[in-house]
């Protein structure tokens, strides 16, 4: 709890400093006051926990982001190719896919990664299945192969 509050304080302070760009004492004090006000409100709402500040994920997060960026670039090239090739070349598919993540956080990260990659969109998340619409049949097959699933599970641990 304490760690999450400190992390939220640092995030808010960095956000404020980068947005303001003024360095006089009065403005800085006003900024500090607003950050503290936000912290008080957030504590009353009781939303400072491992879900809003997922510190336990930080260890593996950056390698996952790197891999996800690579995947996004590859998927973009494929989708742009099929945009210019026209309607004959696409094969829209709707499919339910089993997911192996246990926590809500892992499920959300997986579904969000599916949506962030162009060519696949996660439409609904029911218990341990996710409904995916894909532009191409190959995209569904590569999701079923489970590379992304494995990496998200690794991130979760």
């Amino acid at each position: 709890m304490k760690l999450h509050t400190i992390s939220l304080f640092l995030t808010l302070t960095a956000f404020w400093l980068l947005n303001s760009g003024h360095n006089t004492l009065l403005i800085l004090l006003l900024g500090l006051a607003s950050v503290l006000l936000v912290l008080v409100i957030v504590h009353k709402m009781d939303v400072v926990d491992h879900e809003s500040q997922p510190l336990h994920l930080t260890r593996n997060l950056f390698s996952y982001y790197l891999w996800l960026t690579k995947e996004i670039i590859k998927a973009n090239i494929i989708v742009v190719k099929h945009i210019w090739l026209g309607n004959k070349s696409i094969s829209p598919t709707l499919r339910r896919i089993k997911i192996s993540q246990k926590t809500d956080m892992g499920k959300v990260i997986y579904a969000n990664s599916i949506t962030l990659t162009p060519g696949t969109v996660a439409i609904d998340l029911i218990d341990d299945e996710v409904v995916v619409h894909a532009l191409l049949k190959q995209d569904i097959e590569s999701l079923l192969a489970g590379e992304m699933d494995r990496r998200v599970s690794q991130l979760e641990r």
Binding site: N19, V80, I83, W84, G86, N112, L116, V121
Partner: protein
Amino acid sequence: MDIIINISGALFLLMGSFLCISGGVGLLRFPDFYTRMHAVGVTDTLGAGMILIGLMCYSPDFLTFSKLVMILLLTLLIGPTTSHVLAKAAMHNNLMPKLQQEDNIEETSSSNY
């Protein structure tokens, strides 16, 4: 050094412009709502990303740079959220996608939708 940064910035901007126009063309060409969503996904992720990275190469000071990073993070957070909510709302209001394979249609019609 300056010249290299300027040229790479121009290249990023060029790629971003191409991706954005491709996304617009896809939005017009694709046959139904769900496929059009993928075209918008292209402009939301890599199109916006390339243009903002190109602008980062031109940015005069650190503050501008950090604001561009902030806009990039915002677009990357907002894009998937809106397309997911849009797809879910469309699905719940019984707008079915055009599909190619027969077995897929059977599979989905036997499900909750």
